[in-house]
Symmetry: C2
Subunit: 212 residues, 2 copies
DNA sequence: GATGGGAATGAGTCTCGATTCATTCTTGGC
DNA sequence: GCCAAGAATGAATCGAGACTCATTCCCATC
């Protein structure tokens, strides 16, 4: 809050910069990217239309920035925690937890992620795909390590497992977002990983693992 | 293909009607709904812009029709097969298989489903959510039956399981769609259901099922 | 060959919205 | 108090695209 800090009003996250970002996430979550005129974002942020362009190159740029920032936080949080969290199972659970928590942290952002990130619009597709790949990569590594350590079966592709895990969590999140239901991120994460590791089959009926 | 069939040119699926639908799916898969001018769809279908409006009420209406039709086929196919398919596990596997097959059946339609159906645009959201609910419902029923018959664990919510299964499959499909990779629907379905039923944990490491 | 009616056309209308930029406001230094 | 420089404004520009409708085409019937 010193005078020095305030010296980067345009290129860095100043006051209005953040207000515009937040407003954009709100409006886009409500109406969708293509139904959100810049003028609506400006109004919500309490600035003039033109002001937006002092802080962002274009409408695209706002959305890109919002998504990048969110993913950035996600990665950082996971990486930091991993330093003190060894077990493969625990790591998977932590990823699931942080992923599921996003709903509670910022509901609008969660909506935006579920709705706009799938867009085929090239400018979204390119970088959102990049983020997904990184996420999946992270999970695959954990799975592979678990396989090497003998914790996980080796007859299932780590890629398939990673996608299954991501998809399962993402869908739970998505359904919560759309129905507006809340949930306990920690408990849900535990449940998902439980299913992923142990399956839903009862001991009695498990007849397929023999072909390992 | 008889002359009689061709007698419903406007209200039913006549020649141009189908051509417009197909063209729309193609174009929208390539460019996204909001970046697909009606004129582009018309050109692809080889008709004039105005002709579109002889067969569809609006641009929205085309997309809605395409999605509804696809889901309709899906449900019908599953329902029919279920008449001769008893086991809960086999039924889940069949659902997974048909779901995964959609990529092979019509790649463009699969892309469209993955990208446009999540749209927050109200007109899409309302009915696509409805379809999702129906799908999940179907899976839940199978799961519940499996639980009653003692095939599946009873300490996991059928809703959570259904979402996990749907999400896992959908994500695999999605990843295939975006990377352009092909896969064997039947084999992949078996793998997913294998993971869902048996989990990825090895016997040695399974330490959580005791709390049943 | 003429004719009536439905199908098809595509140029034109009308609205909306991203971006620009001439103008106005603010503020820190004198 | 005055001034210059940066920040902010919002009216105006400009293009895009959904939809309309006056006109033309097609063809079955006579």
């Amino acid at each position: 809050m010193t005078e020095v800090e305030k010296a980067a009003p345009i290129s860095g996250p100043g006051d209005k910069y953040q207000r515009i970002l937040d407003a954009a996430v709100e409006v886009i979550a409500e109406r969708g990217y293509f139904n959100s005129p810049v003028s609506a974002i400006a109004k919500r942020a309490g600035v003039a239309d033109g002001t937006i362009y002092l802080y962002f190159k274009s409408k695209d740029d706002i959305l890109r920035t919002a998504i990048d920032t969110t993913f950035g936080r996600f990665y950082k949080q996971v990486e930091e925690r991993f330093r003190n969290l060894e077990g493969a199972r625990e790591q998977l659970e932590y990823i699931a937890e942080v992923h599921l928590e996003s709903h509670g942290v910022n509901r609008n952002m969660a909506i935006l992620m579920q709705t706009e990130m799938r867009q085929s619009a090239k400018f979204i597709a390119e970088f959102s795909h990049h983020h997904l790949v990184k996420y999946i990569q992270m999970v695959r590594e954990v799975v592979r390590r678990g396989q090497q350590e003998g914790l996980f079966r080796q007859d299932v592709s780590d890629g398939v497992v990673a996608h299954c895990m991501f998809g399962a969590i993402d869908e739970l999140l998505s359904s919560a977002v759309f129905t507006g239901r809340a949930y306990d991120a920690k408990a849900t994460a535990r449940q998902v990983i439980d299913v992923l590791l142990n399956g839903i089959g009862t001991r009695a009926s498990m007849g397929r693992s023999e072909n390992v």
